[in-house]
């Protein structure tokens, strides 16, 4: 392994994008949750919903801010570190990203201001519109960026002219074979991630014996969503797998740890090794089960990694383990959802002792599953950036090794600082929990609020 600007750029890209996706994974779900809460408050006028809105909007503001700043970094890295990629794909991917800015980013960013600072300035209908616009904007944004990524995974509707990609059919460029399943899988993942966090936040107060009407509502809303979406995610994920198998069989072979071609088992635990071209198996199903899962027929022979020349194979270890962690967490989510629903139906939820601890343990599961899912998808696409057409190695910018090494160190330092502070502030809010009464809410006022600013100013004054 040589630490040249190529490897360093890959590390930098992987780190910054994995950092970025943590926030969309949360804000996409939380945006919709806030829209639902505000809608419920406006229609039922139950203060629980308003209190919950004010609680989660503070956390949303923090997470959204981190999502925005880490996203701006992403949009410039295509040029700084992957300039050849930019030249070659600009005529195809450019419009998709351009439309993302025009239809989503401006919408989110403009109405975010109204959402966060407009409560006393605009009427309830307009404020709700702003919340809705922000939530909707995150979904539009996800659609465009995933269209771009899906084109890189399963390119379609293009031709090559003077060594560059050009579009011949825009509908095919946008709706590539892997786009529908990827969008469904990612949006569901974002909703699950948020629901698990909300559930954990409610569980935290129950563990501390501080459950309130608000936290009880939180817990029930989250359980309902998880019980519904977690099983659905299994189905969507399975469909994703089928698409991947059709268009990127080498990726599936890597995720499954298959080397030889033939009827395949499903390896449950093991250790794939690129050098010896084999997987050390600890636990696996009978041969044929893997073929049945992926191809729907136990007797179908499927290709193993050795069917491809070495230069065209993805590395196997990361896709293999990232995929297993994601699926394992997905199964755990189904368990948490069903167990919670069971307690709820039996009216034992509020008295449960073990369950709230369980929700604490699974609160970060969504984030982990999302990052692992992307690791499996993106590393499994290697050695290509545009699958089958443009190798990652040929997409790199002509920049100096030292420049990238410096920026990578800078990125690591800046991101860890910002992340620690953000996590601390979000953690404090989560620990304090939603307030129940109007006065209490004012005391822990929203960011930028006069009361809070006054209090903070006093603290600083000597």
């Amino acid at each position: 392994m040589v630490f040249d600007h190529f490897l360093l750029s890959r590390l930098q890209f992987a780190f910054t994008v994995a950092f970025h996706i943590i926030f969309p994974a949360f804000t996409i779900g939380l945006g919709s949750y806030l829209a639902v809460l505000e809608g419920l408050w406006l229609t039922t006028r139950r203060t629980v919903f308003k209190n919950l809105y004010f609680f989660w909007i503070k956390i949303f503001a923090l997470a959204f801010g981190m999502g925005v700043v880490s996203g701006v970094v992403m949009s410039y890295q295509f040029g700084t570190n992957w300039s050849v990629f930019a030249v070659k794909t600009g005529s195809v991917l450019g419009p998709l990203l351009g439309y993302e800015v025009l239809t989503a980013f401006f919408l989110e960013a403009s109405f975010l201001g109204v959402m966060l600072f407009g409560w006393n300035r605009v009427g309830p209908a307009l404020h709700f519109t702003a919340t809705f616009a922000v939530a909707f904007g995150t979904l539009i944004s996800a659609s465009w960026i995933l269209a771009a990524n899906s084109w890189m995974q399963t390119p379609a509707g293009f031709a090559i002219e003077n060594g560059r990609f050009i579009a011949v059919d825009w509908i095919k460029v946008i709706f590539t074979p892997s786009f529908p399943t990827r969008l469904a899988h990612m949006v569901t993942a974002a909703y699950l991630t948020t629901a698990l966090t909300v559930l954990g936040a409610a569980g935290l107060q129950q563990v501390r014996n501080k459950a309130t009407p608000e936290t009880k509502v939180m817990m029930r809303m989250a359980i309902g969503l998880i019980a519904l979406l977690a099983p659905l995610q299994l189905v969507i994920g399975h469909e994703s797998g089928k698409v991947a198998h059709e268009y990127q069989p080498a990726k599936v072979a890597a995720m499954e740890g298959w080397w030889e071609s033939g009827r395949q088992p499903t390896i449950l635990l093991g250790w794939p090794d690129d050098r010896s071209e084999s997987t050390k198996v600890l636990l696996q199903t009978p041969v044929g089960f893997g073929s049945w899962v992926v191809a729907g027929d136990a007797s179908t022979p499927l290709k193993g990694l050795k069917a491809w020349p070495k230069a065209d194979r993805p590395p196997s270890l990361i896709p293999f383990w990232a995929f297993r962690i994601m699926v394992g967490l997905g199964l755990a989510m189904i368990g948490v959802g069903f167990y919670g629903a069971f307690l709820w139906v039996r009216r034992k939820l509020d008295a449960a002792r073990v369950y709230p601890w369980l929700t604490l343990a699974t609160a970060p599961a969504g984030f982990l599953a999302v990052v692992c899912g992307w690791m499996a998808t993106e590393v499994g696409r290697q050695p290509f950036v545009v699958y089958g057409w443009l190798r990652t190695r040929d997409a790199i910018s002509p920049v100096a090794d030292g420049a990238v090494a410096t920026s990578l160190v800078g990125v690591l330092v800046v991101y860890s600082l910002v992340f620690s502070a953000g996590a601390l502030y979000i953690g404090r809010l989560l620990f304090a929990g939603p307030s129940s009464s109007e006065q209490a809410r004012d005391a822990v006022a929203a960011p930028g609020n006069a009361l809070q600013l006054a209090a903070a100013a006093e603290e600083i004054a000597p």
Binding site: G79, G98, Y99, S110, S407
Partner: protein
């Protein structure tokens, strides 16, 4: 008749970048002015920009994303050439961006640190943008349609000058914005900043203009100024740009000092920026990488430009109207109480 799509796109991007400079310019400028304000004044200053900074910064994303989409080759040459300042800018923007929220959550030391981060982040981001501007104007080393220079090409006396000038320029926009958005002592202070900064910016603009003629002889020739003599006809016919710029800055100086208008200083400072921008356009059009690659050489395929043009034709008016609407909602003097709850 077929449209000259690359030319239209050059115009669209020029407008996007101009809007970026005029809008994010004032909120970055306010960050630059932070050290000169008291803690209470700082809270008013952030309140004056907190609802809009994110939308302002989105013009930067449109600028970068638009360059990628419309002129991929220019994007691929300029970004690696300005690798260090761009990375620096992005890092600095992270700090100042999160500081809006973090400042309100930090307790004693936390709040002080994020106040510092907001200010330093703003300053570094502006300086970095000034370096990018300078590197762009002085010329980029291009071979085989790719960047072929060294990692420190962007750092020269000329780019240092543009960095300092842009910083003072943004600070002027920031102080003029505060004249419009504040009252009482803070407004008096802001007027003082605006008075001094408008003078400083006149000097800077003159210095940068002269230096540009020297650093890049091709630009000099554009303006009719060369070693062999001066083409007066050319120079005079192009002189409205610098004259309007200088006049507008003088106007900003006068209106800030007289205290009769709250909004004119910002509008005049913005006019000065537009004039400087026009001067830049005169110096480099039709190149996107000055004197190396023209906009037609760098343009994306026509069908991509056309598709995006449809998007812009529909979305830009929509975006501009809701942007105006949001500014209208938050019109009037800023108080540190624009909050929900």
């Amino acid at each position: 008749m077929s449209l000259d799509l690359p030319l239209i796109w050059a115009a669209i991007l020029a407008v996007a970048v101009l809007l970026y400079v005029l809008l994010d310019g004032f909120d970055l400028g306010i960050g630059v002015l932070f050290p000169f304000a008291t803690p209470e004044e700082r809270d008013v200053m952030t309140a004056a920009i907190a609802p809009v900074w994110d939308a302002n910064e989105t013009w930067l994303v449109l600028g970068g994303g638009g360059l990628f989409a419309a002129f991929p080759l220019a994007y691929a040459v300029i970004m690696p050439a300005c690798y260090a300042p761009i990375m620096l800018m992005l890092g600095a923007l992270i700090f100042r961006g999160v500081a809006f929220e973090f400042r309100a959550h930090g307790r004693n030391r936390g709040k002080r640190w994020w106040t510092f981060a907001f200010s330093a982040g703003s300053l570094i981001a502006v300086l970095a943008q000034g370096f990018v501007l300078g590197a762009f104007v002085q010329g980029i080393h291009v071979k085989n349609q790719a960047f072929a220079g060294g990692p420190l090409d962007w750092l020269t006396p000329f780019t240092c000058l543009t960095a300092v000038s842009l910083t003072l320029g943004y600070a002027l926009l920031g102080s003029a914005w505060m004249v419009a958005k504040s009252e009482g002592d803070l407004q008096i202070k802001a007027r003082g900043w605006a008075v001094r900064l408008s003078l400083a910016v006149v000097v800077c603009m003159a210095l940068v203009s002269l230096a540009t003629l020297v650093v890049n002889p091709a630009v000099g020739a554009r303006w009719g100024v060369g070693l062999t003599g001066i083409n007066w006809y050319r120079l005079v016919s192009l002189s409205p740009a610098p004259l309007v710029g200088g006049g507008a800055l003088f106007g900003a100086f006068l209106t800030a000092r007289s205290g009769r208008s709250d909004s004119l200083p910002y509008l005049l400072a913005a006019l000065a920026f537009m004039a400087g921008y026009a001067g830049l356009a005169i110096s480099i059009a039709p190149f996107v990488v000055p004197y190396q690659l023209t906009l037609w050489q760098c343009a994306a395929k026509d069908n991509a430009l056309a598709l995006m043009l449809v998007g812009v034709a529909i979305m830009l008016p929509v975006i501009l109207s809701y942007t105006a609407f949001v500014y209208w909602i938050f019109r009037g003097k800023a108080k540190p109480d624009h909050a929900y709850g």
